[in-house]
Symmetry: C3
Subunit: 365 residues, 3 copies
């Protein structure tokens, strides 16, 4: 695929060469990085640097910035109970679950027992009501397991109760607009022409499908991933806070560059708030997937030896399709990545790792 190097800072010239390895495989991809608030790389291959794709769970990183804004504005206290803001949530033994626990995947609500439908998830409120009535699937706080989709209606309902707005509205007004970023929770119809539909996953001999029985809860929660509705026009319009955000790499990096404000006097989010959201809340074996190691902050994904996207202080999120956005206080690094072909294995494109390593090495030199 044709590589379009829109900008690369001289010190970071090796990034172009490393990015070419992805281009050579015929991928359509975008990579944008800032160091200390300065753009150091803006690379694309195969499609426009302004093409938009569904970034799956990278959406959680956008939601996280919105929730951090609520904390900054004094609207939300992570150590309050969820029921304080959302009384119905107290049902069925959930009265003591804190916002901190819920938003770090410890609340035991990765699904309802009956299973949420696409319609309920798209509606948001419908899914939230069902989750509020549900007894936790595990003892709250005893462990964590990735709430791949359910975290969307949960964080959405919290936002609605606190701000009176949907999480999509709040994100748009308080994050996306001030950041002037092409990264949407709920894509406007007018931008649909810029969307590049995701391409299906290809086999990868290096990563054969897992054998052996899955964790029983995984079979229930992730029985149908990727759900096609997530990437549909309806999904893009709904902008699920968990999974159907739409962005370019430029847009992802712009949100994190605005939020962190490295090198500026006016970060979009107070650094102490981001540090609290980036604090490791959970680490180890995921009770849904059974995978290990996994780690989360507040809504953010944390790096592990499995996906070492930055220093221990870094935070962000990857998505099923391969996209990722990361900020790292060590080196004041921000980067975003998007790719059209769903990667195999799913999650952050492993081919991005040498690019990340080079970026960090130069930034810290």
């Amino acid at each position: 695929m044709k590589l379009s190097s829109n900008y690369v800072d001289g010190k970071y010239a090796n990034l172009t060469k490393l990015f070419e390895n992805i281009a050579k495989e015929g991928e359509e991809a975008q990579f944008v990085a800032y160091v200390g608030g300065q753009l150091v790389a803006d690379l694309a291959c195969g499609f426009s640097p302004d093409s938009l794709t569904v970034v799956y769970s990278v959406s959680k990183a956008l939601s996280a910035i919105a929730v951090a804004k609520m904390v900054d504005q004094g609207l939300l206290d992570l150590d309050q109970t969820v029921a304080h803001y959302w009384p119905e949530f107290a049902a069925a033994g959930k009265q003591d679950i804190t916002v901190r626990q819920l938003l770090s995947h410890q609340g035991g609500l990765p699904e309802t027992r009956a299973g949420l439908t696409p319609g309920q998830l798209m509606d948001g409120k419908a899914a939230a009501d069902l989750l509020a009535a549900e007894a936790p699937l595990w003892r709250p706080g005893a462990g964590f397991g990735y709430h791949a989709l359910s975290i969307g209606p949960l964080v959405g309902e919290l936002c609605r109760r606190i701000t009176g707005k949907t999480i999509q509205e709040y994100y748009d007004a308080e994050v996306r607009e001030p950041a002037d970023a092409d990264a949407y929770l709920g894509l406007p119809e007018s931008l649909e022409p810029r969307v590049a539909e995701l391409l299906p996953q290809l086999p990868n001999a290096e990563f054969p499908p897992a054998t052996g029985a899955p964790n029983p809860l995984d079979s229930h929660v992730n029985r149908n991933v990727p759900m096609p509705f997530i990437t549909s026009r309806e999904g893009r319009k709904a902008g699920l806070a968990s999974a159907s955000g739409v962005a370019s790499a430029r847009g992802l990096a712009a949100v994190f560059n605005w939020a962190t404000g490295y090198g500026s006097e006016t970060p979009g989010i107070a650094p102490d708030t981001l540090q609290d959201f980036a604090q490791t809340q959970v680490f180890g074996t995921d009770w849904v997937s059974g995978s290990n190691p996994r780690s989360h902050g507040i809504l953010f994904m944390k790096p592990t030896s499995a996906i070492p996207f930055g220093s221990f202080q870094s935070f962000g999120h990857d998505g099923f399709g391969g996209a990722v956005v990361v900020a790292d206080p060590v080196g004041q690094i921000v980067y975003g990545y998007a790719i059209r072909r769903i990667t195999n294995p799913a999650g952050m494109d492993r081919r991005l790792q040498p690019i990340i390593d080079e970026l960090r090495a130069v930034a810290l030199a």
Copy 2:
């Protein structure tokens, strides 16, 4: 061995063929299943469908139903401290341990430091007194480790303090009799002629003995398993709530069919109570054996990728000898299995898995 197919519902005809694979290996075994409260399979090979064997830790599933009955009757609150019901238990730093923690193997009392003797375990009260005086082997609540034998006197003493009866008496009156089940905690002398003594484990090249050092606590707690007294006449008479229950597969399934009441208006135990007992309390590495993954609800064993006996909502328990009893709200499935030859590896007979998979597939079709 001769297979006696006493009943198989037409839709479940494949179960007979799959069960024959166990029969062909010369085993004496029994398998009984209900779906929606209806008997769908009643199979036996080698010995009578009414032969009784010691089912080791499947006993914990029988005890669990008895404890759930105490909760149903308003006698026991899982979130109370153990010391509330049993003041002496508060000794040596155990004042805050809850019933929920104790019954999900989190209390740090898988043994005394001195080691409980068979006599103390058979007596029950003697073992309970020693455990009540003991400082927990780990910080209570910090982790879990299977209380293979000690859970018996612990649950027994709780029952005695709360109901004035032994757990064996309470189980017999409140569970076994109403369920009309051949599944005993304390086998009456009159039934001894129906007992088939267990046969010793055979080598299995597919499951060679573990190499490497054991977890140090495992060496202490499980230094002498299987303890011969468990399966002796004295053990069968004592009916240790942890390990020396005696049953047929028909009896095991009957207890769970009665308790769940799938398809009936009158479950033996309230569905909400069973759901609470089936909630995952702990998951991951067992601090006694060092094994992973292990998972428990309240007294119940939960399925894992290692022993996937049902959906994430399923609950039950396997035993050292290979027997198992399970109920699964997903599909309203209940099944019991017993086998005379102690399996290798110990725990649920791995050859049962295709039978379970077929049962679930048909029930959910």
Copy 3:
């Protein structure tokens, strides 16, 4: 190397033969063991039984005995908050961290985000002030990760606030002197001539360096281990409570023999206090190194299947260089080991295991 068998009890004669295997590899090493308070082995090879070496994290076992003495004297309650004794520690979300959590590596302070310098660590107070101001790197109590160096200034500042003395002064007066032991936190200048400088690690084909990405936090906390200052003259003089103690095997064993007082009426530390310090506080995956299994009591290391240095009741600590000190109530065993050549892999010299196994077998026979 020449083996000097200064004393071996007849029943333990095999220990000499097993120790010769280490001597034959050209090592300079010392091994001393007590059973029931009686010396049963005092072996050395290559250098004097009274040579002193830096024992790295075995220092934590010496500090643990000092802290246990504070508890014995009624000065310290493990279940109090750290901030109760050290108000500044309450900063940045640490107000609820208990002494128990902090001293079992659960406080989330294995380092500062900026990274402590050798100067700050040597000063102690400087490092403690920085740690007191730091937000925990993980949610306190959520998990544990080895505080390899930072535990030194943390325990040091607790001691200063409580006793008015440095941990080195307190240890010297309350432990080392009464134990009459050649085991120092802060080596007097006059003893420098007896120091044998450690020799560098050699490659070991059986234990190749780990491949794959490290845990991101490991890269930060252990980015420069072993730090040369630890074993320098300055380090030995400072006597970091975490890492730069200096001792012979005789000295290590003497401290633990005095503290446990097996076979005597006058243990240096009350047995109940030692039992509480030896209780397993944490077990599983270390959130700093990502290693598993790891386990700790209060400051003490606990044995695991990876390093099975004793029964589940045993406690002690190994060091990066290969030294170790252990006490085991099961068999009333105490032993100390020191070695000049830094072992590979780091931590307790794996060649010591057959010696430990023989010692335990004879003591328990």
